[in-house]
């Protein structure tokens, strides 16, 4: 009897514990998702104020002092109208904890809010204010962000322009970080808005739930348009051009809002080759010439867009372990993977990938550009030995960080796990001049368990066929081709839980 017990104990220890351990590891890696309660209706300032006392106030540039006093003692459901002209402010224009406010000008070229003397503040700053509308005006020279909206619901940003006077040289580095910056907002409609020369991102939607971003233009910024840690976003018919990097969708680690259910369609994402003028920060690491970056993002459908003339590459797909931190403990939400990415029916106009980082790669500031160039050169060298001509960087650059783990190390770095476990799905992307190809860099294989790639490790990985380019006509061993999906399909946009005005 004792023996049996001992046997059981031994078997239990040897067999059961590892199983429990693996189960624990597996479960702990499953992505946590935040359950959210959605409001049923979009309650714009008009709807919100429908049955309430409303006030209309009008101000001219000569009345900025009175205007500031009014803004700091606002009653709900007030429409503040600004006449044509230039309003010069020595402080932020702020709205705080008051609902149903409309701030409107006489047009985005006619009414100018100038903040060059405002000190250390955002231009227009809105906090904890629901059913807020801002329209028909221009925000100029904000020390920090042009328009920032925090912790609010039901926001309309319509027909505004955000820009800075410094359009070249060193002075640009002092431009505010973001043009338009709704953060932690539920239900945001951002449309008909132009933003230029922001030293971080022109249009930014972060930590939001339900965002409709359409008919906007982002030009001459470091990053054009960003969607970050956002659930439910529809991004369409925007023009994203002449930025350093065009469009970016990603999750920061540690944030409790894990992006999903995002559609990006009918956008023009071309010619994003502006030299990077960011003074500092992560954005400074973006190599010039990238159309679209998808990093630590999932459940995203990208279709009917026009790509082209992006000097580094049209689309980069990168794991958060590469872009932010390889340390798993830094990813409590387990949202480091870039997966369930459905790219279809896009047109590639060509001319992309011809000069990584405009031919000015810089290993200290922008190491990712250097890596892409080195690996592409290695592929060309390898192909030359087979008598093939050198090619530009393929349209889609994928780091190949596939999830997969060994019992000892739950990490992607220690194994080359071939396949398409990230569900990168491509289909019918041959509508443009160019049939796109995809560059599977396969970083884990490239690194070969070391910290940094070397010329040798890159060469070995290319020669072994781990790091390679798939053309539209290729058939990877794990199914499909770049045009028919590797081996998957199936992102379905769940739709918005609410209806936005004008949809």
């Amino acid at each position: 009897m004792k023996n049996v017990n001992r046997k059981l104990l031994v078997i239990g220890t040897i067999v059961l514990l590892p199983i429990l351990y693996i189960t624990f590891l597996y479960l702990s890696r499953m992505e946590k998702r935040t359950d959210l309660v959605f409001p049923k209706t979009f309650s714009s300032s008009e709807i919100y104020c429908n049955d309430k006392q409303s006030k209309k106030l009008k101000f001219t540039p000569a009345q900025t002092k009175e205007l500031q006093t009014v803004l700091n003692s606002l009653e709900e459901c007030t429409t503040v109208e600004l006449t044509a002209g230039t309003f010069v402010f020595n402080n932020s224009v702020s709205i705080s904890s008051v609902n149903g406010i409309t701030l409107k000008g006489a047009g985005k070229k006619a009414t100018i809010l100038k903040f060059v003397e405002a000190g250390n503040v955002n231009g227009v700053d809105v906090e904890a204010s629901n059913s807020f509308t801002i329209r028909d005006l221009k925000i100029l020279d904000s020390p920090k962000n042009g328009l920032e909206i925090r912790l609010s619901e039901n926001i309309i940003i319509d027909n505004i322009e955000v820009t800075w006077s410094a359009t070249s040289g060193e002075d640009m580095k002092k431009n505010g970080a973001y043009g338009v910056y709704p953060v932690n907002v539920v239900n945001v409609l951002l449309q008909n808005t132009d933003t230029f020369y922001a030293s971080d991102a022109g249009l930014y939607v972060g930590q939001c739930i339900n965002a409709l971003v359409r008919y906007n233009r982002a030009e001459y910024n470091v990053m054009g348009l960003e969607i970050e840690n956002t659930i439910n976003a529809d991004v369409y018919e925007n023009i994203v051009t002449n930025n350093t990097g065009g469009f970016l969708a990603y999750d920061l680690n540690k944030n409790t809002i894990v992006s999903r259910n995002i559609r990006v369609y009918k956008n023009k994402i071309m010619n994003n080759n502006n030299p990077n003028f960011a003074s500092t920060g992560i954005v400074k690491t973006v190599p010039a010439g990238i159309g679209m970056v998808l990093t630590s993002i999932r459940d995203i459908e990208i279709y009917d867009n026009e790509f082209g003339s992006n000097n580094s590459t049209d689309i980069g797909i990168v794991s958060g372990l590469v872009s932010e931190t390889p340390n798993f403990s830094e990813w409590p939400m387990n949202n480091w993977r870039a997966y369930n990415i459905y790219l279809h029916d896009n047109s590639f106009g060509g001319g992309s990938g011809s000069a990584v980082d405009n031919g000015k790669t810089n290993v200290t500031d922008r190491p990712l550009g250097v890596l892409v160039k080195l690996v592409n050169d290695a592929v060309n060298t390898f192909n030359a030995s087979k008598g093939l001509k050198p090619e530009p960087v393929p349209n889609i650059m994928y780091d190949g960080v596939e999830p997969g783990f060994t019992i000892l190390a739950m990490t992607t770095w220690f194994g080359n796990n071939p396949g398409n476990h990230n569900n990168i799905c491509l289909k019918n992307n041959n509508k443009g001049k160019e049939d796109p190809s995809i560059f599977d860099i396969n970083l884990p294989a490239l690194l070969n368990n070391s910290e940094d790639p070397t010329d040798e490790s890159i060469k070995a990985s290319v020669e072994a066929g781990y790091t390679r380019v798939y053309k539209i006509s290729d058939t990877p061993s794990y199914g499909g081709s770049p045009n028919n999906g590797f081996d998957c399909e199936g992102f379905k946009f769940e739709g918005m839980p609410i209806e936005f005005p004008g949809t």
């Binding site: 803004l71 402080n91 705080s96 912790l151 953060v183 931190t325 340390n327 830094e330």
Partner: protein
């Protein structure tokens, strides 16, 4: 014994707080003199009515080296309810006044009071706290309401005799709310910051006989529910006899944690929690990558790199005066040299390790 145990749960202690909860709204006046808070307003001194309770904090919040005089005014016959963690509950009709003055000699930050700049009022109205600042006139004889705040140029000669200048910012009402904030979901309310046990638990330094501030308030019947032991106390960040860690945590708590806590904007957006009692080192920045610092991170990768202050975003943002990066976001134009130095030493003293 049982009642003694119950009494540890301070709110249920012997004397109930008299919170005057059916108090009426206070009229918001155009001039500070109209409130009757001060019996005498002189150029060099403000004398409050005898019921006003002056107080100070173990570690005060840095405000461009200004001197701050703080007074609580409670409606007659009412008192505050002690709370060990949160701000004390003050009755409707209470007013907290904080007056900011330049030091007489700005170069050395010394001497008696120079120009009086502003007096900020927090008025406890029936619908919540109302915040607004009053701007003193040239002669320091009265102060006028300033809903929209103001920018006051300050010019002085530094110790080398060079002319220095900065703009002192009087906050607008909306800017008051950006620090004095507490969120529930997405609805924000205004709260006092300094009226907490851990900040107030110190010897009161205004009167001749030194007595603990909280005990003084209790003796004046202005505070109820004060337990006999177990009252939290923050370090004095400027006192070199206390440990670097306690001083730094106290400094971060009063200067940053009103925003960098779970229920305020800074904490919600960045996930950096700087409250004195946050024990998860990664939440108070150790090897933590920034939440959304953008270019505010100064090109550095982690909020705090143990042993390496110059590689730590926390230190960088406190030291810089670049508008896009400086912390706190409002409330200072200058660098608090002593405070930055303390945080430098604190990070430097941490056991060195490289963040992955």
């Amino acid at each position: 014994m049982i009642s003694f145990l119950v009494c540890l749960n301070t709110a249920n202690c012997s004397s109930k707080a008299n919170l005057n909860l059916d108090g009426k709204a206070i009229k918001v006046h155009d001039k500070i003199s109209q409130y009757g808070l001060f019996t005498e307003i002189k150029s060099e001194s403000l004398t409050s009515v005898s019921t006003g309770i002056p107080y100070d904090l173990n570690t005060p919040l840095f405000s461009d080296y200004t001197r701050k005089d703080r007074i609580i005014f409670l409606p007659d016959g009412t008192n505050m309810a002690y709370n060990s963690e949160k701000e004390f509950e003050l009755p409707i009709g209470s007013i907290i006044a904080k007056t900011f003055s330049l030091p007489e000699n700005f170069a050395t930050k010394s001497g008696k009071y120079g120009k009086r700049l502003e007096t900020r009022l927090l008025i406890h109205q029936p619908q919540g706290w109302f915040a607004v600042s009053y701007l003193w006139n040239e002669l320091n004889t009265d102060a006028e309401i300033a809903y929209a705040g103001e920018s006051i140029p300050v010019v002085y000669k530094d110790e080398s005799g060079n002319k220095q200048s900065f703009n002192y910012s009087v906050p607008s009402r909306n800017q008051c709310a950006s620090c004095h904030q507490a969120y529930e979901g997405r609805s924000q309310s205004i709260v006092p910051i300094g009226i907490k046990a851990r900040h107030l638990n110190k010897d009161y330094s205004f009167s001749a006989d030194k007595v603990n501030q909280l005990e003084y308030m209790e003796s004046k019947k202005a505070l109820v529910g004060l337990p006999s032991f177990g009252i939290p106390k923050l370090a004095d960040a400027s006192n070199t006899n206390e440990s670097i860690n306690d001083r730094a945590r106290a400094y971060l708590d009063i200067n940053c944690a009103h925003c960098h806590q779970a229920s305020a904007a800074g904490g919600i957006n960045s996930k950096l929690i700087l409250s004195y009692n946050e024990s998860d080192s990664s939440l108070f920045g150790v090897c933590k990558t920034p939440g959304s610092a953008g270019k505010g991170g100064g090109g550095l990768r982690f909020d705090v790199v143990p042993g390496k202050p110059l590689e730590s975003i926390l230190h960088y943002r406190m030291a810089t005066t670049d508008p896009g990066a400086m912390m706190p976001q409002i409330g200072r134009a200058l660098t608090h040299v002593e405070g930055v130095d303390l945080i430098y030493k604190w990070i430097e003293a941490m056991e060195s390790k490289s963040c992955p």
